[in-house]
Symmetry: C2
Subunit: 309 residues, 2 copies
């Protein structure tokens, strides 16, 4: 298709249109989006895919801007897909996000794009995976997917990138507690940001804390999660982080497993959607509400499940 050619030729407006198309939830856009992706797919897979997460205020935008600008100055082309849970209902471009990374957005070699989020917890929309593929086909050598550490969004982003980077503040080991523990199992590189001025001592202590815990949470014998000090504001440590990302590299096996999980996630959610709309299921729900055994009714319905030819 023509749009695919324009995207592959690096046409900015075509890129924006293509991402809008894959993000569309309108049924009549879906065919066109699928054709576009089919045409782009042979040109995908070449970029370094990086996920960056961290709680609000940790300095994600400043860090991504510093990293992206550094890469552009070395001749790389960088795309940033920024998932903002607060944009849940708009589904479109948020001025707020654009201006957050103004400097990077004005780089000719960079592209910054806010992503619509889905679901009550501001989760990552499945289409973000497709937007990433579009950026790859458009020739970006690095694609960064940013997410705020809310709900399931980190797991979703970790499951579409080669290297998942967690930014933490130099606030000591407090963040290691509670909710943060689950995320350590997803992380490939930890960055203690704001390691400058008065916070440097505290940042070093925090690095040591995470160093201990990353050894405890070791999940891959071949990769000891590095903990890197950085100051996005002063630009220090950003190059170190990039070296760790390159060292971690990409793993085709991981990408194949990610694609398979994406298939299952979408298949399950689409089938559940069909079930909810099915009149027989709605009738069954009424019967259960009236006193029938829900497990029996469910098993009987499930036994009738089939895929048409």
């Amino acid at each position: 298709v023509k749009l695919a050619e324009q995207v592959k030729n690096g046409d900015r407006r075509a890129l924006a249109r293509a991402i809008t198309l894959v993000e569309s939830t309108r049924a009549d856009d879906r065919d066109e989006a699928d054709q576009l992706l089919e045409a782009l797919l042979p040109s995908t897979g070449k970029a370094t895919r990086v996920g960056i997460s961290g709680t609000p205020g940790v300095g994600k935008s400043t860090f991504i801007e510093a990293l992206g600008t550094m890469l552009c100055s070395r001749g790389e082309r960088v795309a940033v897909l920024a998932v903002d849970p607060s944009s849940q209902k708009s589904g479109g471009s948020l001025l707020g996000d654009k201006t957050r990374m103004e400097k990077l957005a004005n780089e000719p070699k960079a592209y910054v794009r806010p992503q619509p989020s889905s679901g009550a917890l501001g989760g990552v929309a499945p289409s973000t995976r497709e937007a990433l593929l579009v950026c790859e086909a458009a020739g970006f050598s690095t694609v960064i997917v940013e997410t705020v550490g809310v709900g399931q969004s980190e797991a979703a982003v970790a499951d579409m990138v080669d290297t998942f980077v967690l930014l933490v503040s130099p606030a000591g080991g407090d963040e290691l507690q509670g909710a943060k523990r689950g995320i350590l199992e997803l992380v490939d590189v930890i960055v203690v940001n704001k390691a400058d001025g008065d916070l440097l001592v505290e940042a070093k202590k925090t690095r040591d804390d995470y160093d201990v815990s990353s050894k405890l949470f070791l999940r891959d014998a071949a990769w000891q999660v590095p903990v890197v000090l950085a100051s996005a504001k002063e630009g220090s440590g950003v190059d170190d982080v990039w070296k760790k990302i390159q060292l971690h590299g990409r793993d085709e096996g991981r990408r194949v497993a990610q694609a398979e999980r994406a298939l299952w996630r979408t298949l399950e959610s689409e089938v559940v959607r069909s079930l909810r709309a099915n009149p027989d299921v709605q009738k069954a729900v009424d019967e259960v509400r009236a006193g029938k055994n829900p497990l029996r009714v469910a098993r009987e319905l499930a036994a009738r499940f089939e895929l048409q030819r």
Copy 2:
């Protein structure tokens, strides 16, 4: 069926056989189990359904034993379904569980039954809901479902009982942090156990902490979650807890919504199981692993979904 009559007549061995039948994962037991439940269903619904959860070491067994023994002495009949995540693979009766509540297990009016757990996190098996119904049909006036606070098991238990009780230790407000926060949204009654001897002062402080937080997490304007001091060892406070459980009472609307959710959970898991066994889906997985767009493949498969007549 004959087994159903025996269960309704209070035959102990028939009760054990009936629960074993509904717990069976063998396909050829399923029809018989469904017929049994159909025959028992008109006799269900009369018991007070209580869920009891808490971390290991908080004194759940001792508390349930104290509560159960007290109720038996008042002429009630009490069944305890104890979910032990560690029993994951045995799927059967664990001597360990039996002996934990030895005194209650020897009460003629009580029945203690370990439950098989399912899944990697030691989750509650769907059949626990059916075991609860069997106990109701057998004439128990109170059915207690015990769970260790691990993974999703608390949510599953909270979703099959009238009143969900959380036992906490008098270790101060530490437990309010992190992982425990999610559970407060499920809880109807909080019990600070081990409120005796040296720990009494600490227990009172803990009660006050939970009192504050239960006001913060208020989800139902009609029910302020009470925080009760108890000592299962000394037997104090157990009667207070029972009064709160009775005060909370049962809500037919809650039971109907629970049945509907049980329908959906089982329907989804059974359909996903069919999908995994479907040769077309397996072929699609191979195509995705070879490079096809997973979201498109998933949508195409889901579009073929149908329920046979």
